[in-house]
Amino acid sequence: METTMNPSPQTLPFKFHGKSGEYFRIWIVNVVLSILTLGIYSAWAKVRNKRYFYSNTELDGSTFEYLANPIAILKGRLLALGVFAVYSVTVWFIPLSEPVFVLAFIAGLPWLIVRAMTFNARNSAFRNIRFDFKSNYLEAAKVFIGIPLLVMLTLGLAYPYFAYRYRDFLINNSGFGTTGFDFDAQTKHFYLIYLKAFSALLLLGLLVAVALPALIPEVQSAGQLPNQELPVQGPQLVLMMLPFLVIFPVYMLIGTYIHTATLNTAFNHAYTTGQRFSSNLKVGKMFWIYLSNFVAVLLSLGLLIPWAKIRIARYRLENLALHTEDDLDGVIAGEQQRVKATGEELAEVLDIDLGF
């Protein structure tokens, strides 16, 4: 039997083969067909999109597979739209009904999250073995209702704990075939991330506070000029733009740091028997990609979205690896079940980010 034998132990890098030119053509055809069918095609577009990224991701000579049925996604989308329409119309006419909807939404959220994760996992496969996600309402309710309440009570101090429990929930409940993933990060890893971010914020805030007075006198005298001809003048314009020029980059930098450090921590502490991931993303590089993506997408009226998506996917995957003591042949398939798409689609319409 001529199997692909891998000497053990070894490091298997993830590879990404997506090309922005090729993906642009797939993306624009998706967009135009979605427009021409008034959105109905968007379910097929979503599958085609995801298939492009999955199939271009290679590990140990094999690529990933996305298997969701577009019809299931379309049904989920229509249901989500229906729920949203009922909500909007009811709240327009009976504003007092809003709290009822909010409570119902909070109560339904754990269910939505479990459904979405399960749908996504069971429709993802590698070497003809599907991924899996196993959880229940109660467990999800603890993480997504219980801990957020704790975060509120502690005025945010418990947020890093939530960040930890969230990833723990995602990874510990995920599996590949019959093999489950485990997560050995600790709460302190996440507190460290937020502590660093908070210190950086303080430091940058201090810098701004020192640098700003240099601008202020000029601004004030300009504001007091009598009989201004032009209402908005140079220094005033600078003052108006200040939030964008200073606060936005700082916010984005700190956001990117938290995002990057969380991704690295999540992957570096995810493992199964004999296998372990490693993710080595750099904050500077991620910041540069996000910043240039932002500018490019804005200036190109969205036409560079495909290029931006390929760039970030490539960087993320090229810095991800699987360290394995043996080859990848030993995983046994689980029972293959179908799960309705409703969860994920509802979650998408309601803008819940279910990623890492």
């Binding site: 427009i35 956001g255 997408v297 036409l303 046994i332």
Partner: protein, 344 residues
């Protein structure tokens, strides 16, 4: 990946075989024969299937194809062209048309044009039309609920009580009441006076049907006709339901942009916010000219010189200093044209 033509004119491709029970990968060869039979040969296995039993994934870019076998196994094949040739020969074209469209540069160009044009048209005409239609279907009580509390917030943060003489207030309120009688029945619009402070000479129409006129504006006027012209403009905003239409249009724009942009940047909310603000300001310009139309017709119908509107706009625009109105006026190139149409 090796691909050869077999003597019988069939196709032979190398593949990786996954049995669907374990995650092992095996190198195999797939031979597609002339008579619709496919033979899978590996070091330790051999099987023959009918071509129509196979579930061949549609092509996406140049990614490997997965061929589902009837026994639950799958083969991963990198040689896309060989598979495509085979499917063409067998006249099987499931889903192949998508890849054909994506590979056709003329169609891709067309798709770009259609996307840009239809997005622009949707933002410029589609959403405003839809918002206007929906606003007409909704009772005005909805506008009220939208503007509930707005006056309280403005009173707390911006305005202070009026210092106008009660006689002036009464005179203007009478003019306002006269104006309301020309409108369809059931309009319970109110006129309130406030010291504008930071916003200077200004007038605002709140969705609740309340029009606020600042003391500074009253001071800046040379006669009541000028204030009537401003009031007519504000009533135009209310009659055309601009607040609720703006709310609907802006949220629709944000939804459309969010749907397109996805997760390309860390802060997609800002990516959504910036274009939304730009489109929002273009909508508000359109609403201004709609309200101007209303004012113009009101002035003409009631034999009030239309120049009143032009003169007060020019005056508060010229020495309003800090006011929002003047900032708005001076930053909009269309303002001169706006004023121009009221000067005969």
């Amino acid at each position: 990946m090796g691909q050869t033509s077999t003597p019988e004119g069939g196709t032979d491709v190398s593949a990786r075989y996954y049995d669907g029970r374990t995650s092992g990968a095996t190198a195999v060869r797939l031979s597609f024969g002339r008579c619709g039979l496919v033979t899978l040969t590996g070091a330790a296995q051999s099987a023959t299937y009918k071509l129509e039993e196979l579930d061949i994934s549609t092509r996406i870019g140049n990614t490997p194809r997965l061929i589902g076998l009837p026994d639950g196994g799958k083969c991963e094949v990198s040689d896309n062209d060989a598979i495509d040739r085979l499917l063409r020969k067998q006249a099987i074209n499931r889903g192949g048309w998508l890849h054909a469209l994506e590979s056709h540069y003329l169609f891709v160009m067309l798709a770009i044009v259609v996307t840009l044009v239809s997005t622009t048209m949707t933002f410029k005409y589609g959403l405003p039309w839809l918002a206007e239609r929906s606003a007409r279907a909704l009772p005005q009580s909805v506008d009220r609920s939208l503007g509930k509390g707005t006056l309280d917030i403005l009173d707390r943060s911006l305005f202070s009580p009026t210092t106008l003489e009660p006689a002036i207030q009464a005179r203007l309120s009478r003019r306002f009441a006269e104006m309301i009688t020309t409108l369809p029945a059931g309009r319970d619009y109110r006129l309130l006076f406030r010291a504008g402070n930071r916003i200077g000479a200004n007038a605002l129409a709140l969705p609740s049907g309340t029009i606020v006129m600042t003391d500074e504006l009253v001071m800046a006027s040379e006669n009541d006709d000028e204030l009537v012209a401003i009031l007519a403009h504000e009533i135009g905003h209310l009659e055309h339901r601009h607040s609720i239409r703006m709310a609907m249009q802006s949220s629709a724009v944000a939804l459309v942009i969010a749907a397109f942009s996805g997760d390309v940047v860390a802060s997609s909310s800002l990516l959504v916010a910036l274009p939304t603000v730009l489109i929002h300001s273009s909508y508000s310009q359109e609403f201004e000219s709609e309200a101007d139309d209303f004012a113009w017709h009101y002035l003409v119908d009631n034999s009030i010189p239309t120049g009143s509107f032009a003169s007060i706009l020019t005056r508060i625009g010229a020495d309003g200093g800090d006011s929002v109105v003047s900032r708005y006026l001076s930053s909009h190139p269309g303002t001169q044209a706006r004023i121009q149409r009221f000067i005969k």
